[in-house]
């Protein structure tokens, strides 16, 4: 271990740690562009300069300088502040300052750092350099060469994380620019990550481009509902409509990345028409009548099965299971949905909570299912046609009725994956907190409340979501094969 002081605070780090990382461990933020936690640094932006051992003649770049025993590092000394100001001035000399039409504005480190460390004024009176403004890197990514500060995070992302080189730097000096390689447009299924790591607005997502200024949007720190990997994301919405998913760093699951398919899956959750209120045989009814009808149909529970979607949260499944237990339903099954997996993040199970469902005692639909009298479908799930044959009744609880709606005796409303609140367990057995990114509006009750009220709430040890989460977590931890890691958002 190496001991050093940063701004007078002593810190002990592993050998090989850079000054920037050591400062970060102390909570001291040193500005940086070319350095990124998950792809390292290149040392080209020069904005992370610090003073080491009082040497004001030659400042060190903290992203590359390893910690040394007994170093005395100053991050806010007079020479550092002056040098940083100079670097910021150089970075902004040819930057177009078209923040008014730039999508990065509002979440742009160049804006933030120039506000904190820059001079707020420019001495540059000559003409700014002109470069290409609209370069199509692919059907997903657009590049603006003028805004680029050549930190090369994007090229290094492909080199270090994706082991490919679809883009690179061409030309020298002032004419340097990022350019497509000879193989044409980028085809990588993880290419949109370069849009997130680009510290300026040079790389923009063609999907989100010009859709909304970020300061008008609402954000929810949640989990990607696309597959069982459970990548941490921030969902951005504007006036009740999802506009984008962006990854949120979680070093244990997805680092700073997510797949393009998961990112674009937000479109599925902007539904215009949905089930509101309860329906009995297609007629609007009160929830009380619907609950009474379900109780009448289910009767003693023999010959009835519950088929739950694995996008339900553990809390919802727990409440569902509690009701099924009271109603005497023995068959608790979960649905499944798969898509093409790959060797990086994308898992073949395209639902986020299969593991949680299994931990709570739900089983896959058996290949030779017993003869059924009735079926209760909870959530959006593909029902195998074999189950639907010879049914007396079907109870459908789902945000969208879909093809099953005409066959359903009782229909109840439900939440979409981005409206849920609770716990999902990913394929690695990590329980993660899910937060709602959208509100469902009138006529829709939280799924767990629906099952609670259906079973008659009295006698349940939980009446609030908080209490239910506590009960549910205890049960998950009791049944976990792998240690359950709770990652709070």
């Amino acid at each position: 271990m190496i001991k050093l002081t940063i701004d007078g605070n002593e810190v002990e780090v592993e050998p090989g740690t850079t000054l920037l990382e050591a400062a970060r461990a102390l909570g001291t933020e040193i500005p940086h562009y070319c350095y990124h936690q998950d792809i390292g640094s290149d040392g080209n932006c020069r904005v992370c300069l610090v003073e080491v051992n009082g040497n004001t003649d030659k400042l060190a770049i903290s992203c590359q300088q390893p910690c040394g025993e007994g170093m005395d590092v100053q991050t806010e000394s007079e020479s550092v502040v002056k040098a940083r100001k100079g670097v910021m001035e150089f970075l902004l000399i040819n930057h177009p300052l078209d923040c008014t039409i730039c999508d990065q504005a509002g979440e742009c480190p160049l804006q933030d750092y120039s506000y904190h460390y820059g001079s707020g004024d420019s001495r540059f009176v000559e003409d700014k350099r002109n470069k290409r403004k609209k370069v199509e890197f692919s059907d997903k990514v657009m590049f603006d060469a003028e805004r680029c500060i050549l930190c090369t995070r994007c090229t290094r992302y492909f080199e270090t994380v994706r082991d490919s080189r679809p883009i690179g730097v061409e030309n020298m000096g002032g004419q340097s620019t990022i350019t497509l390689g000879p193989n044409g447009p980028i085809e990588d299924p993880y290419q949109l990550n370069i849009v997130d790591i680009c510290p300026v607005g040079a790389l923009t997502s063609r999907d989100f481009r010009f859709k909304q200024r970020v300061w008008f949007m609402d954000f929810a720190d949640t989990v990607c509902p696309g597959c069982s990997k459970g990548c941490n994301i921030t969902a951005g919405a504007y006036q009740g409509k999802l506009l984008r998913f962006v990854p949120r760093r979680n070093p244990d699951i997805n680092k700073s990345w997510m797949c393009d398919d998961g990112r674009m899956s937000y479109e599925n959750y902007n539904i215009s028409e949905r089930t509101r209120g309860a329906l009995i045989a297609g007629e609007e009814a009160s929830f009380e009548d619907a609950f009474a009808k379900i109780a009448e149909l289910v009767g003693g529970g023999d010959g009835v099965a519950v088929l739950a979607s694995t996008s339900n949260t553990c809390e919802e499944l727990h409440a569902l299971k509690a009701w099924a237990g009271k109603a005497g339903i023995a068959h608790l099954w979960h649905g499944s949905k798969s898509w093409e997996s790959d060797d990086f993040l994308k898992e073949s199970d395209a639902t986020p909570n299969t593991k949680g469902a299994q931990m709570l005692g739900f089983e896959p639909v058996p290949t030779e299912a017993p003869a059924l009298r009735g079926l209760v479908v909870a959530g959006e799930v593909e029902v195998p046609p074999a189950l639907l044959a010879n049914l007396d009744f079907l109870v459908l609880q789902s945000p969208v009725g879909g093809e099953l709606a005409p066959a359903a005796m009782v229909m109840l409303p439900g939440l979409t994956r981005v409206e849920k609140q609770g716990t999902w367990v990913n394929s690695a057995g990590m329980a993660q907190v899910v937060k709602p990114a959208l509100q469902p509006g009138s006529g829709v009750v939280d799924d767990w409340q629906l099952w609670r009220d259906l079973g008659g709430a009295d006698g349940a040890e939980w009446s609030t979501l908080k209490a239910l989460t506590r009960v549910c977590r205890a049960q998950l931890e009791g049944s976990a094969e792998t240690p359950l890691v709770a990652t709070e958002s």
């Binding site: 008014t100 002109n130 290409r132 403004k133 200024r213």
Partner: protein, 179 residues
């Protein structure tokens, strides 16, 4: 408790009333020969000052180009939240020679019932695209009619010559380099 006001006793001439009537008629007749100052609105119109803050409108420059780049700063600053903009990419038809511009409003709504005519939108606009016009007659039979859309706002703002054109020569350097 009410206060009792003692009335002054009138003298002889005052009790006659006639002098007061003659005095009043005299004033009336004198007024008839003075110039009129009443404005016969709506046939006659008041003179509106240049900096009058009437309904805000969007303007085009003398080349007929939309000035607005939908940066939404006016939407942000608007105290009563009267402005709603739907941003979007400049379409092929509306794209001009100004290659630096990529963004234009797809729709631009100002709710004139919400607008408080403060002029912040004009003040904050970095593109000189929105101005307070002299329009003060905002009547309609429904509320919806007073939510002005983009077409109506451009009609209201009209054309303003002599505005800044910061995007106009932006691309010259690149064009010269390519030739």
């Amino acid at each position: 408790m009410a206060k009792v006001v003692e009335r002054r006793k009138l003298n002889f001439w005052e009790e006659l009333y006639l002098p007061a009537i003659v005095d009043g008629l005299g004033r009336t007749f004198r007024q008839m020969f003075k110039p009129e100052i009443t404005l016969q609105y709506p046939e006659q119109r008041p003179v509106i000052a240049d900096d009058y803050r009437g309904a805000p409108g969007l303007v085009k420059d003398e080349e007929g180009r939309e000035k607005c780049v939908s940066c939404q700063l006016c939407e942000y600053i608007c105290p009563p939240k009267a402005i709603v903009i739907e941003p979007g990419e400049v379409s092929e038809e509306t794209s001009y020679d100004y290659s630096g511009i990529e963004k234009a409003p797809q729709e631009f709504y100002i709710d004139m019932l919400r607008c408080i005519y403060c002029g912040y939108c004009e003040e904050i606009c970095p593109e000189q695209a929105i101005f307070m016009t002299g329009e003060y007659e905002l009547n309609a039979s429904t509320r919806q009619e007073l939510v002005f859309d983009k077409a109506r706002l451009y009609k209201l703002g009209g054309t303003r010559p002599g505005l800044l054109k910061k995007w106009k020569h932006k691309d010259d350097g690149l064009a010269a380099e390519e030739h």
